[in-house]
């Protein structure tokens, strides 16, 4: 049969696709619609939704503030150690989130800087602030990668022209390059936000899993699974699936 290789390879692709779809449907259809509505209306899930949204928006905003200047520096300038910086800023993507969380825990718990911040009222350990910092640390590289390639794709000559037309360096970036980078900014923002919503391992290490305090949707899923509250757990999972599918 001339098409047996096609049949076999497309078959594998179709099977794995079917498996993924079935898995998602299993989760989404597991609770009865009534139970799902009741769970979502519960104070606990409401809190988890609220906390997830607040922390993920905050972490996305901070990621943009960190990643955009770094990406610009890496795309436009030559400087000593650029190659090392380029490699290290991608490091959090290769690191297991649990390990990143332990690192953050040690930094904010044991170093003078962490202690000074705590004394100044900025407590990260076992607080929602810790969730935000965990999301930022693990997910800003997504933003940085996308913005780096976006900036690299915009000719620096646009800025040169802007500068001859009276712009400072910063104005040229703000009025010309950033508006041209909008689509990259949006794409990066959506990915960073969706990843932030789903962040679990790093947040678990630094912020812990405290009901109604550091309970984001993934933490809620974990807590309710742990104590057998399947309906609640799967409601959280369903909401997370909806967010992933929408952000894709």
């Amino acid at each position: 049969a001339p098409n047996s290789l096609k049949a076999a390879t497309v078959g594998v692709a179709a099977l794995i696709t079917a498996f993924i779809v079935i898995l998602l449907l299993l989760v989404v259809t597991h609770p009865s619609p009534a139970a799902l509505v009741a769970s979502i209306a519960s104070r606990e899930i409401q809190f988890a939704i609220y906390l997830s949204i607040v922390t993920s928006i905050a972490s996305t905003a901070i990621s943009i503030l960190i990643a955009v200047p770094s990406a610009y520096a890496l795309a436009r300038y030559d400087f000593l150690g650029k190659h090392a910086v380029n490699t290290i800023v991608d490091m959090p993507l290769a690191l297991p989130p649990l390990v990143a969380g332990v690192g953050l825990l040690l930094f904010f718990g044991t170093t003078p800087i962490g202690k000074a911040l705590a004394e100044a009222g900025l407590v990260f350990i076992f607080t929602p602030l810790g969730i935000i910092v965990a999301q930022v640390f693990v997910n800003f590289p997504f933003m940085l990668r996308i913005m780096r390639s976006t900036f690299e794709g915009i000719s620096p000559r646009y800025e040169y022209v802007a500068k001859t037309l009276g712009c400072t360096d910063l104005q040229a970036l703000w009025r010309v390059t950033l508006p041209m980078a909008t689509s990259g900014l949006i794409a990066g923002g959506v990915i960073t936000w969706a990843k932030g919503i789903g962040e679990f391992g790093a947040a678990l290490m630094i912020a812990g899993a405290t009901r109604m305090k550091t309970e984001t949707l993934p933490i809620s899923l974990f807590l309710n699974m742990s104590c057998g509250e399947l309906e609640m757990a799967i409601s959280a999972a369903t909401i997370l699936i909806v967010i992933s599918v929408v952000s894709l």
């Binding site: 000719s155 000559r157 646009y158 040169y160 022209v161 802007a162 500068k163 001859t164 037309l165 009276g166 712009c167 400072t168 104005q171 010309v176 508006p179 041209m180 909008t182």
Partner: protein, 348 residues
Amino acid sequence: MLEIEHVSKDMGEFVLKDASLQVNDGEYLVIIGPTGAGKTILLETLAGIYPPDSGRVVLDGRDITDVPPRERNICMVYQDYMLFPHLTVAENIGFGLRNRKVEATEIERKVTDAARFLAIDHLLHRHPDTLSGGEQQRAAIARAIVMEPALLLLDEPLSALDGQTREKLRKELRRLHDLYGITVIHVTHNFEEVFSLADRVAVIRGGEIVQVGEPHEVFRKPNCEFVANFVGVENLFHGRCVQKGDLCEIDAGGVRIVSATCSGDGEVTATVRPEDILISRTPLDSSAQNSLKGTIVDIVDNGMVVRITVDAGIPFVVVLTRRGVVDLDIHQDEEVWITFKASSVHVF
């Protein structure tokens, strides 16, 4: 006046080596040179994009070597337009004026004037990506000239355009320069732009400026082998052109040359390829419009072909096969007739 004094800059791939050059007020200077010669880096250094490693740039008596671009009043137009895609044509043209905090009504007036001058006033509300290449380049030029710059830098402004658009815009550039008396440095590798635009021409090679002068000076008397080879155009004539019916007559130093391809009266430059010229001992009664009597002043045997220089008032180089020379039995200092067709005369 712009003075470039011993400017050097090493950017790795491209370099500038001890470049010195003066550009007078209102002058149109064209810089030619092969790809990678450092043409763009020279313009960008003048615009202040990067500081030179050494040397000075002085504009109208003021040392601007360390002045940031925005305070130089030098504008730049690139080959690929570099219009800001998120702004309309009007916003692009008014971009620099807005930075200068010019009043809105004043901006609008100046933008409209410049756009009208460049015949793009009907496109002001469009975005650049909806414009043709020629229209985009007009907008980019308008964006520069509304600033009334002390110096306008053009980096191969016509290279990305097709033949006809290029011709048109070349004339616009000339008109713009004549009308506004603007000082222009125009970088190109197209010789036609030299003859139709340049007051003076500079030749650049490997970051060094190797010759500066009036176009005919540089093309007739190259000061080194590189320039000679680079500008390597033979049978180049300059003269006044007068239209006569379908054809044109060019008076080149007293010699009348008939051309089929020129359009309109005025000063022109013309060339004839050495292969297109016939040599004979008597005048030819042929269809060819150009038949001149002259003296053979030089015969050089190049192996495959023989190059003969005939002085017919002005010198013509003719290429023959070796057999042709033997058959005709022609020698140095003999009188011959040279013949070429009007359609062989290329005018620009």
